[in-house]
């Protein structure tokens, strides 16, 4: 009887100790907000273009965490879809709209002599990347432009072009090697039909 009682007592004491530890950990390591939304948001390209149908990247991240499709981000391209699929442990699906090629980075450029200074593009820009005042010429801060397209449509004189950002010597990077060829490489002696004078 005593052994049973002591066993129960020990278990109760242990339960209390672990409960206290868990309770402390819950307070000490408390996570603010919804971490999955933050993680999804971090993968999105933050162009704030609204092409997904949500007003900005974070709302789309929240929508994804609530079960929205992961393939609605054209600026992110298939890479973003893949990254989201990895994060959420779901199957990667083709980008909505079937755009096969990777998105090219673009920036908005205002043809400045045609600008009438209506400020409509300034209001449309989600990242305040357009400078100007009423009846003054506007211009785009190319470094801040996310290439979201949102300023093109409101322009009453259609003086905004989306210009592809070319590769410069500073943005250039080495190409990935082709990898191991699939067909015969004619390296092994028995593969060789004719001797090549190297």
């Amino acid at each position: 009887m005593l052994t049973v009682l002591s066993a129960v007592a020990i278990l109760v004491v242990l339960a209390l100790i672990f409960g206290a530890i868990l309770g402390y950990a819950n307070v000490r390591f408390h996570v603010e907000g919804d971490p999955i939304v933050d993680q999804i948001d971090a993968l999105l390209p933050q162009t704030q273009c609204g092409q997904c149908g949500h007003p900005g990247c974070r709302p789309y991240a929240e929508a994804i965490s609530n079960g929205d499709a992961i393939n609605k981000c054209p600026p992110g391209g298939q890479a973003t879809v893949q990254a989201l699929a990895d994060l959420l442990d779901v199957e990667a699906i083709p980008l909505d709209g079937g755009e096969a090629e990777e998105p090219k980075k673009k920036v908005a450029v205002i043809r400045e002599d045609e600008c009438i200074g209506c400020t409509k593009c300034i209001q449309a820009c989600p990242v305040d990347a357009i400078l100007g005042a009423a009846k003054q010429m506007h211009t785009v801060i190319a470094d801040e432009c996310t290439g979201c397209d949102l300023c093109v449509e409101p322009c009453p004189v259609s003086c905004i072009d989306m210009v592809e950002v070319g590769v410069t010597t500073r943005t250039w990077s080495w190409e990935k090697p082709n990898g191991v060829a699939t067909q015969s490489l004619d390296i092994i002696a028995t593969d060789r039909q004719t001797e090549v004078n190297a």
Partner: protein, 867 residues
Amino acid sequence: MSAATVYNFHGGIHPPENKAQSLRLPLGHPKLPEELILPLGQHIGQASRPLVAVGDKVLKGQTIAINNGFLSSFLHAPTSGTVKVIEERPIAHPSGLADVCIVITPDGADEWQELEPLRDWQKVSKTDLLAFLAEKGIVGMGGAGFPTQVKLQGAQKHNLSHLIINAAECEPYITADDMLMREKSLELILGIEIVQHLANAQQVMIGIEDNKPTAIAALEKVIRERQSNIQLVVVPTKYPSGGEKQLIKLLTDQEVPTGKLPADIGILCQNVGTCVAIYEAVQFGRPLISRFTTLTGDGFGAPQNVEVLLGTPVSHLLSYADANLSQVERIVMGGPMMGFTLDSLSAPIVKTSNCILAATRKELPLPEPEQACIRCGMCEQACPASLLPQQLLWFAKSQEHEKAEHYNLFDCIECGACSYVCPSSIPLVQYYRHTKAAIRDAREAAVKSDIAKQRFEARKARQEAEAAEKEAKRLERQKAAAAKPAAKKAAPTKVTEAPAASSAPVDEETKKLKVDLAIAKAKLKKLDKALQEAQERQAVEEISALQLQVDGATADIKEMEAKLPATAPVAKPKDAAPKVALSDEAKKAKVDVALASTKLKKIEKQLADDPDNAELRDKQSALQQELATAEARFAKLQPEQASSEAKPAAAKPVLSDDHKKAKVDVALASTKLKKVEKQLGEDPDNAELKAKQAEFQAALATAQAELAKFEAHAPVTAKPEAKATAPADDEALRKLKIDTAIAKAALKKAEKALAHAQEIGADNVDTLSQQVDEARGRAEALEQALTKGEVPPPAAAPKAEVNQLAEQIKQQKIAAALAKAQVNKLKKQLAQQPEAEDLQQQLSVAEAKQQEEEAKLEQLTNSQENR
């Protein structure tokens, strides 16, 4: 000089050196090319900003571009000439891309601009010396082109143990540094002294590979001559001992931790070429406009080292050193291990170009096709950075960037040793370069997206703040509007305008109304109490005024009660009676009320400011009256409407103003009469009071008659229907009854007084008996009228005629009563003054009149009876 200990570093390879070819000939000095092409970005960091315009004449050594930010450099004209153009030209870059270059056409004079050396460099401050070096455009000439002043500035923050001069030149084929050390050994040592002055390291070492005996000998000689404490450390030839980290390991056995700089462990490295450039800049004021470059490879007929002006096109050097382009497989800038193939032969020599390798196919064959990794592990053996190239390859291939970073991909110095040893000919370095670039891009994109996010959120916050401010302003305005008295009227319209508005404002509205209602009710109670008191005191004027106020308050309460359920139908469903639509007249009355109250408030406010102003006071009272009138009218209209809604069959006639006045008169007269009667009760013998009583009675009768007239009229005009007159008749009848009762009471009183007088034998017995007679007559007359009225002819002649007759009778009665009263009065006066003749005459006249009137009355009564 003690022999320094030489340590070892992991890995490394021993490719064929091929250094002898380019050392057979002495240092060459190519002629001026047709044009010099000077890229603005010859170094790591921001490209320089051009200072010259197209067509400008420049002198040799003139600054043509200045630094553009911290990590940037100056650029100088290598010779005198004209700026031909500033445009994009193909440059020496693995991508083969073009970049902005200043193109100078030499004039052949090679005319120096006036040079300003800094000979007293030991006396000037280090900051000034560094700035001077920056202005001379000196960058690291070993490979990367890191601006020297930035490197030295960074190193000055640390306590340096070693200054290492990199003279290893480990890459095959290249002998430019070897040649430089042979040619300019003194300059090199002097340059090292300047760097040491800036770095102030405990120990200065020159690391040199043992395959340069001539250079070693030359340097030893100079060091010995100058009795310098510079240590010349000869290291075994092994690729890549010239790598900064590898050389540090060789000389000090220290490893630079991942992600750190050599300065972090107290070591500064400088290339020999840089040291010579520093010396020439300080000693002669010469900017960096030329460098030693090796022209080598089987493609050159005369491989050699040359001192070449920056901007010289590669093609010019090829022709200078007799290159056989038909044999050349490819032109490589840099060595065979780390160099890159040039796409364009017009690419110029820049500050970091140490070698042009014109290789034949045999010398530098095309890479073998890549095969599968056989996991031999030779790459790991060769790696000088102690990495795991095989693992990195997997991660690079599967684009597992995080894992690649975890395996210290960024410690790879891209020396190419792993690729060199790989039996499967896997271009490992290219994989790593690509992966590094991809990771850098991803980092940049992350930074950019972070900035975009910040900007987006800042914008959102700004917009929200703006909206909140607007909303707050709007609410403030609304509040201000609600505080105005006119809002009382506006409130219900607002509610009807926005029925879908949120419940909160409605609730507020309802609450406000409720409060108002409670206040109004309290006010009404107070007024009622005041009215009662006034009635007790019999203050006539006060009563009428108070009555009007009470009516007004009641009307207000009714209005509010009607409003309240309309605004809060959910809260008080029981009270949800349909609101009576106000008739036009009622509306007008309401408007009048509102106007009057507004005016009154204004005046009151003014009065509060100026309490002694009599004019204002007058105005106030006038307005108060006006308000009372308006309210009374409105109150009257309101309940009427309500009752007319309630029982539409018995529509009440609208009371005219005159009618109302008549009523008020009646009330006044009756009150006065009561007062007198009361006084009379206290002092029954007072003749004056009695006379007054009679007078008031007469006045009352007149007023009543007037009222009766109106009331008789009203139903006729309002409702031609015969039946509708019934209630009006009833009222008249009731009045008549009351009058009769009063008359009877008066009679009784008079009789009593007479009896009393007879008992005491007073001399006014006669008068009293007359009065009794009068009262009896009056009572009888009234009784007659009553009996007549009580028998309404059900199917008689048109009611209107009857009414007319009755009215005539009534008028006649009144006339008779008046006459009687006058007679009475005269008689009384006569009793007091029995001798007055004129009074007697008057009395007789009055008596005659009375008789006449009574006769008329009898006539009328008879005619009515005959009907």
